[in-house]
Symmetry: C2
DNA sequence: TTTATAAAACCGACCAGTTGGTTTGTAAAG
DNA sequence: CTTTACAAACCAACTGGTCGGTTTTATAAA
């Protein structure tokens, strides 16, 4: 077998094993020995492909980020023509995808944070860029950020096993976050943000029903 | 010194040390030896107060939960008379408090999850109860849950050091989440969810309809 | 108040097993 | 023959946890 592909195969096997371990046993159980055992490689083999454990984590993070980056790009291409805020839509959809994906990038993220919080810089940087795009395209940037935060809250809470929501609710809430029509009622233009006057009160008046 | 208070002091010191370690070095660095070193106690002393490491985590979790439970109760008493949805308001305010608190309960939560995901059952149960209360008092339960999820997203993202938001934005977004007036514009009664937003949103697909 | 005894809090050495990482050996690819 | 990919034994440091012993506090009889 070709040397390059042999390496590639081993690297892949190690990373797959790492994800499996995190998902099954939790991030605290991710050790080099465990990776070697799970992947079928020897420990030396793993160490040959990744000089340190941090290198494993970093590669894992990058791989998962690339995976969702690809999802993101594909989704973006689909909606950029029809949506008024394609960046937000894409980000929401990507987070939903991450939430429903078992070998989630988020797991790698958690593992990275546990071992080396500094690794979090990579995803943060990417996220900052996306956030800027979202804010720029939004009529109401704060509302857009809140929708983003909502999606992230759904994702992380379920990821941590602390979500009090049912699968059904989860799905429904994501759908609503994604539906622009659900949020136009209270948009406040960024240019002039006065205490819920203009648009908001008009929307309120238009609301068919209010609370008792 | 009294025996009971002596114990109390030691237990407290150990837990404080644990929080400090998690906050400074990450959950992966929380070890019994580290706790002993940080607290000034000997390892034996720590082990006398907590028979296992899991006991430390559990105590930590319970302590932090109690702390925020108290904040929650006090806040609830304050707003229960004036707010239409005191449970949601309280929960949002509590999450904001957790986000601004450095020795956050959430840190304990992360540590617990890493070591023993089963411990997550306690907070989840509590959260489920609160969520039920929020849903019951809400005109639009899904929207209430989304506001809750938004707050949680803000908290967790900043906690993980992956928040692309500035301190200012953080604060502003929490304020908006808490302001009921900002959200009345798009409430949809749970009893009948129709496409009232259809008028507001021209381009987008109609509201996904579910239960009657 | 003193003294005897117990119980609880605490210490620090120690244990077996695991950790990330190194070294040595070997076989295949180039 | 040199380099690369992998295997396996190995290592020092560290892991959660145990254990025998010392100090401090509590109880209560003398």
């Amino acid at each position: 077998m070709d040397n390059a592909t042999r390496s590639e195969r081993s690297r892949n096997a190690a990373l797959e094993a790492a994800i499996a371990i995190i998902a099954r046993d939790g991030p605290g159980r991710l050790t080099l020995d465990a990776i070697a055992r799970e992947s079928g490689l020897s420990k030396g083999g793993v160490m040959h492909q990744f000089r340190t454990k941090e290198a494993v984590l970093k590669a894992l993070l990058e791989r998962q980020m690339a995976h969702f980056e690809e999802f993101s790009t594909r989704y973006m291409a689909k909606v950029s023509a029809t949506s008024a805020n394609p960046n937000l839509a894409t980000q929401l959809a990507t987070i939903r995808e991450a939430a429903s994906s078992p070998n989630s990038a988020a797991l790698a993220l958690v593992a990275a944070m546990v071992e080396n919080p500094g690794l979090m810089a990579l995803p943060r940087e990417l996220e900052t860029k996306r956030m800027t795009a979202i804010k720029e395209e939004a009529t109401d940037p704060d509302l857009a950020m809140l929708r983003w935060a909502g999606a992230l809250g759904l994702l992380l809470s379920s990821l941590f096993g602390m979500s009090p929501l049912s699968k059904d609710e989860h799905q429904r809430l994501f759908a609503r976050l994604l539906d622009d029509g659900q949020w136009t009622g209270l948009e406040q233009p960024a240019t002039k943000r006065v205490a819920k006057s203009g648009a908001a009160s008009a929307a309120k008046a238009a609301t068919p029903r209010k609370r008792a």
